[in-house]
């Protein structure tokens, strides 16, 4: 109880509040610009948090994610071009509502639903994380190894268009993670006599390169292709009409918001399923439950709220597998692993024992971030809408410079810049060829845990795979892994989220 109170006290400082507010603003702005998203901003921002306290750094990065979750809906509503993929479902009804002359109502509905969904999932996280972590602490190396392998199979099967490509991307991530010093014998491995590689490939070079810089490359290519073909890209944000969402209208759809929040939280807690699928599931559930389903797609407020509450509820719930098992469920969590490690904190169930005060202060900061998201988003709605008008030839070169500076600050070496650019090109190719780069990053992040638990399990089981029968949890996880793979193969290669 003392830890909880101390944590709350730590979070209620002016520095933390300002950091959270800055993170929310950055997240909304980045999320609002089509093509840019919160994970990209987090990747670039991680090096900026080096000199922050662990709490301020984590609160800042999580706030960027929360702001970005709502920010993506702004361009979806005003331009029918979602700022981020998860806002695609929001645009289905948000854009028609804006075309009906009610853009502010649509954005305020999205904001209210986003904050409610996010707050709900944060509360669930606070309530379930500690008990689940207690259970997870009882897991030994054999079980941990099985959990990681199960996570690989699940994430590979759910992300992207094909299980094979997902598994190849994971294997590539594992391979690149093994470059550096071997953890068991402390010998250089796959370093090619390059001293810069002895400590391994920095996660931030991969994060900035594959998430941010490769996305910038994609956006530049799209811009150049559109300008060659004469497609009009110019965005004109006219003065927005003075319509307003009344509390009565919003309260009338509380059931829809709650239903979507539950769906989003459930989806978020499962590794591999993302905010995009949550948004569409929430939207679909609201349409099925509605008395007037024919109104959906034509500017129905419930549709906006359902999609936005569901995709935002993923944000908090995504931390459940990270904090209870040390397994990042999506790319944002994978980047947060990097931030945790930079600040000397190994994410996983042991955090509740070793850094309990930090955990509870982080939870408090997350809840504060929701309220600040609501206040800042509401107050600056018209201002944030104006960022949509920033021309691509101005914003994209600036982002290239920020990516390069961020990667240099991370490692203070030009080698880090070269690695970042190499991974940007690699990430561009992966995206173009249909390999899910998210599974690559998660494979990379989880490999140290896999290798350590694997070597410990090998010693425990004396190299005898048949000894697995003495570990029923691990055996069940292996069976589930096989089931996930077989099911994915039998279902064929259906498009994923």
């Amino acid at each position: 109880m003392d830890l909880i109170l101390l944590g709350i006290q730590d979070a209620l400082t002016l520095t933390t509040l300002l950091t959270v507010a800055a993170g929310v603003c950055l997240g909304i702005v980045v999320g609002a610009i089509p093509g840019l998203n919160a994970p990209m901003a987090i990747a670039i921002a991680v090096p900026l948090t080096f000199y922050m306290t662990p709490l301020a750094a984590l609160a800042f990065l999580i706030s960027v994610n929360k702001g970005g979750s709502f920010g993506g809906s702004i361009s979806g509503i005003l331009l029918n071009t979602p700022g981020s993929p998860e806002a695609a479902a929001t645009a289905i009804d948000g854009y028609p509502l804006a075309r009906k002359g009610r853009p502010i109502t649509a954005m305020q509905t999205a904001l209210g639903a986003s904050v409610c969904g996010d707050l709900f999932s944060d509360i669930v996280l606070v309530l379930v994380a500690a008990p689940l972590a207690l259970v997870a602490l009882k897991l030994g190396p054999v079980e941990i190894c099985s959990v990681v392998i199960f996570a690989f199979a699940m994430i590979s099967g759910l992300m992207g268009n094909s299980l094979i490509k997902g598994l190849i991307a994971t294997a590539l991530g594992i391979f690149f993670a093994t470059i550096g010093t071997d953890p068991t014998m402390s010998m250089p491995r796959l370093t090619f006599d390059n001293i810069n590689l002895v400590s391994g490939i920095p996660l931030m070079a991969i994060g900035i390169g594959m998430l941010a810089l490769s996305e910038v490359l994609i956006q530049i290519e799209i811009y150049l292709r559109d300008s060659r073909s004469g497609a009009k890209e110019a965005v004109e944000i006219q003065s927005l009409p003075d319509d307003r969402l009344t509390p009565r209208i919003f309260l009338a759809i509380w059931r829809t918001v709650l239903r979507s929040a539950v769906i989003g939280t459930f989806i978020g807690a499962l590794p591999g399923l993302g905010a995009t699928i949550a948004g569409f599931l929430g939207y679909g559930a609201a349409k099925r439950a509605s008395k007037n389903p024919e109104k959906f797609g034509k500017g129905e407020i419930e549709g906006v709220a359902a999609a936005e509450a569901a995709n935002s509820a993923v944000v908090g719930a995504n931390l459940i597998p990270l904090l209870t098992l040390g397994i990042p469920g999506n790319v944002t969590s994978a980047l947060l692993v990097g931030a945790f490690i930079i600040h000397g904190v190994a994410p996983g169930p042991w955090m509740f024992e070793e850094h309990g005060r930090l955990i509870y202060s982080m939870f408090t900061a997350m809840i504060i971030a929701n309220f600040l998201n609501w206040i800042i988003g509401g107050a600056g709605l018209r201002l944030f809408a104006k960022v949509l008008a920033i021309p691509k030839p101005v914003i994209l070169p600036a982002l290239v410079f920020l990516c390069i500076t961020g990667s240099y600050l991370n490692d203070q070496s030009f080698f880090a810049i070269e690695l970042t650019i190499a991974f940007a090109i690699f990430g561009f190719l992966m995206r173009k060829l249909g390999y899910p780069f998210v599974t690559f990053i998660i494979g990379f992040v989880l490999t140290p845990m896999l290798e350590l638990s694997l070597s410990q399990a090998y010693i425990l089981m004396e190299g005898n795979i048949a000894a697995l029968v003495n570990y029923p949890i691990a055996l069940a996880l292996v069976a589930m892994t096989m089931a996930v793979i077989v099911r994915a193969f039998l279902r064929g290669h259906e498009p994923g989220p």
């Binding site: 900026l48 080096f50 000199y51 268009n161 094909s162 094979i164 490509k165 598994l167 190849i168 294997a171 590539l172 594992i174 391979f175 093994t178 071997d182 068991t184 014998m185 010998m187 491995r189 796959l190 370093t191 090619f192 490359l217 530049i220 290519e221 811009y223 150049l224 292709r225 300008s227 021309p391 030839p393 101005v394 994209l396 070169p397 600036a398 290239v400 410079f401 920020l402 390069i404 500076t405 240099y408 600050l409 203070q412 030009f414 810049i417 650019i421 940007a424 090109i425 561009f428 190719l429 173009k432 060829l433 249909g434 390999y435 490999t447 290798e451 694997l454 070597s455 090998y458 010693i459």
Partner: protein
């Protein structure tokens, strides 16, 4: 994606095979008995890459339907051009530092995107202020000196 799969599959088969047979045995020391060798995990990853990429090539080869892919010749050209521009950017920053290198590389990339009208002025303003601002932020905020 069939075309993309037919290209990437064999490349990955060769990549995985070369890693498993040639690179890893040279670059990773053999382990002690009773322990997992340092070469174990990278070898498993390389074999998985080669085998699955082989499957992918076979599936793509047998597939009749062409599914849409946005990977084509223009993407390859764009990627090559990007690699050249990035090479220039690194050379500029390494030789002239983050301020001059940053200003010139931001302006270079921006002007390659052919901005129109007032966009050019905005680009110039950002190209100058962003590297200067970042330099000051790194020095005063993070106590780090950018070259």
């Amino acid at each position: 994606m069939r075309f993309a799969d037919l290209i990437s599959g064999p490349v990955l088969v060769l990549f995985g095979f070369a890693l498993a047979v040639w690179v890893i045995p040279i670059e990773a020391v053999p382990g002690d008995p009773g322990e997992i060798a340092p070469a174990f995990l990278p070898t498993v990853a390389a074999v998985v890459i080669a085998v699955l990429a082989g499957f992918q090539t076979v599936i793509a080869g047998m597939g009749r339907k062409k599914t849409p892919s946005d990977f084509d010749g223009s993407s390859v050209l764009f990627l090559l051009a990007s690699a050249v521009v990035f090479g220039l950017v690194i050379a500029l920053i390494m030789n002239f530092g983050f301020i001059i290198g940053g200003i010139s590389s931001t302006a270079l990339i921006g002007f390659l995107m052919r901005p129109k009208g007032s966009e050019r002025w905005w680009l110039l303003i950002i190209a100058v202020t962003l590297p200067l601002g970042s330099y000051q932020l790194a020095w005063h905020g993070l106590r780090l000196s950018l070259p």
